[in-house]
């Protein structure tokens, strides 16, 4: 029986959340399809991440920690994952759709001769085949797609699948050398600017607090940051304020920014243009604060509060801190 392979993205031996979710989905599909689950981790620290995957239901885990696999590149890592899939006879490859996963899904698919299923948010097994749900038009519609070819490569949207839990017998962990040629290493990393502080990516965050034009200027975003900190979340922004240069594009939520589905999304001073709604409507709970009671954001909000963000946000931040403290 051909199996399922999960790519475990990791840093310093710790798998990232999107990869734990991919392992969780891999374990579920493994049961539904009766296919063995395996995993592969790559780069420095890969053996520790592989051991973690082995505790989470993967019966065989390969780790690639060769000099050529030191830094992430779509070509070399794509080759390594495709090589692992062949070595393990896996015909379904799952990855978390992080920045790496977005690069890797097509890179792996190309090397396995298929087309990727990108950024899936759901799956169902019908007649031995997997029917994938994936948002299109930034979530304005949901496509159900099938892969009729022999091999499937699917990237899974962060926060859309339940992570697996450790338990059961630990699988076997083995070193693997995919034979990465020099020609896969043409891109050279020269420098990393503004090194990522220990910051959760917007797409993986459980809580996102976004600010819009209602904040009236970049100098008032400390209000958004304060509430985000109180809720243990990260800061997002509307397209209008990114276009105005108040906030970096990395924070933009919407069709030309990021699509997020956190447990809690708080929209502060955001009216809710259709392209913004597309990027956050799949959040589990939406809170909106806006001075215009007719603003479209209230149509998708679970909890709406009409009023001035400059009065409400400080009070809300204080009340959240008090509620959490008690």
């Amino acid at each position: 029986m051909p199996g399922i392979l999960v790519y475990v993205e990791q840093a310093g031996g710790v798998p990232r959340k999107a990869s734990l979710e991919a392992l969780g989905e891999g374990a579920r599909l493994s049961k539904a399809l009766g296919a063995p689950l395996s995993a592969v981790a790559i780069g420095p620290g890969a053996s520790a991440a592989a051991a973690e995957a082995a505790r989470r239901g993967a019966s065989r885990v390969l780790f690639v920690d060769t000099p050529a696999a030191k830094a992430f590149l779509p070509a070399s890592y794509g080759r390594a994952i495709a090589g692992a899939a062949r070595a393990l006879d896996a015909t379904l490859v799952l990855l978390g759709a992080s920045a790496q996963g977005k690069d890797l899904a097509p890179a792996v698919a190309a090397r396995l001769g298929t087309s990727p299923v990108a950024d899936a948010t759901g799956s169902a097994v019908e007649g031995g085949k997997v029917l994938w749900t994936r948002p299109v038009y930034a979530g304005k519609a949901l496509a159900r797609v099938v892969n009729e070819g022999p091999v499937t490569v699917a990237s899974l949207r962060p926060n859309a699948f339940e992570p697996g839990a450790p338990g059961g017998a630990a699988g076997a962990v083995e070193a693997f050398d995919p034979g990465i040629p020099e020609s896969d290493l043409k891109v050279i990393l020269k420098e990393v600017l503004a090194p990522a502080a220990k910051r959760v990516d917007l797409t993986e965050a459980d809580v996102v607090v976004s600010g819009g034009r209602g904040l009236k200027g970049p100098e008032h975003f400390h209000l958004v940051e304060g509430l985000a900190a109180a809720l243990g979340g990260v800061v997002g922004a509307s397209r209008a304020v990114v276009d105005a240069g108040w906030r970096p594009h990395a924070e933009q939520v919407g069709q030309t920014g990021k699509t997020v589905s956190p447990k809690l999304y708080v929209a502060l001073g955001i009216s809710g243009a259709i392209q913004h709604l597309a990027g956050m409507s799949s959040s589990r709970c939406i809170v909106a604060v806006n001075k215009d009671g007719e603003a479209p954001i209230f149509k998708v909000a679970d909890y709406g509060l009409v009023g001035d963000v400059f009065e409400i946000v400080p009070a809300l931040t204080k009340a959240v801190l008090a509620a959490k403290g008690g």
Binding site: S115, P116, V146, K186, K190, A323
Partner: protein, 250 residues
């Protein structure tokens, strides 16, 4: 250096999506079609390379329906030198099939630098650039926010999850544009006039094929009607109570 820019005809981001009668695509009625916003950024970056004396020609390549002539013509009006439209004969076409068609044409064009937008905002796959790069056996750098051309290599800034990586990639290569790389210009009247005399070749695209097929398309489930908690600061305690007791989020 010859630069090829691949563009896609997509519905404008303000489009309200409705599902078509076939149940697996969107209803094109009333849709305003545009060049993909990230593709436009890629095109702008290419035009600046030309204006900076780094590129000799900017060629635009599009795979799409006959109507996509409009988007290719717009790219010419913005300043591209020539356009090729691979006219899609219809039928299901997955990203791999699109990439094969584009890669074959790009091979013939022999462009040193191939630019894409990092994703198309309709299918949201971000797959075609990497598939093309693999087909052409070229390195691919995605999410590029800054670009400098050297003689044999490109120096790129790429934005990934809060950090900016500075990478060097030798030519020939494939790059994908992220917002921030360049603010696309509007076509000038002069550009529009000039575009009418620029070469725009239409040829049939290779036949479509698809392993990955959309079998159904639905609108996302409507969110249950929300609650207006209240007005002003007085409503804050009730909001916090709801978040704690009802939504169980605190």
């Amino acid at each position: 250096m010859i630069v090829a820019v691949c563009i896609k005809r997509v519905p404008d981001s303000t489009t309200k999506v409705r599902v078509a009668a076939d149940g697996k695509s969107i209803d094109p009625a009333g849709v305003e079609w545009v060049i993909g916003p990230y593709d436009e950024i890629a095109l702008e970056a290419a035009l600046r390379l030309k204006e900076g004396g780094k590129a000799s020609r900017v060629c635009v390549l599009c795979l799409g329906p006959k109507e996509a002539t409009k988007e290719v013509r717009t790219a010419l009006a913005m300043g591209a030198d020539e356009g090729v439209l691979l006219v899609d004969g219809g039928g299901d076409r997955d990203a791999a099939s699109t990439a094969q068609a584009l890669a074959a044409e790009l091979k013939a064009q022999n462009a040193d630098l191939v630019l894409f937008g990092w994703k198309a905002i309709d299918s949201d796959q971000a797959a075609v650039p990497h598939l093309v790069a693999a087909a052409l056996d070229r390195p691919c750098v995605s999410f590029v926010t800054k670009l400098e051309a050297g003689t044999a290599a490109m120096m790129c800034h790429r934005e990934v999850e809060g950090a900016t990586e500075v990478v060097e990639v030798p030519l020939p290569c494939v790059l994908t544009a992220q917002k921030g790389l360049a603010e696309p210009r509007y076509a000038s009247l002069k550009g529009i006039m000039a575009s009418k005399k620029k070469p725009l070749v239409e040829k049939p695209a290779p036949a479509a094929s698809a392993a990955v097929r959309t079998v159904r398309m639905d609108l996302p489930p409507a969110r249950p009607p929300g609650k207006m908690v209240g007005k002003g600061v007085e409503a804050v305690p009730e909001l916090v109570r709801l978040l704690r007791d009802e939504a169980k989020l605190l």
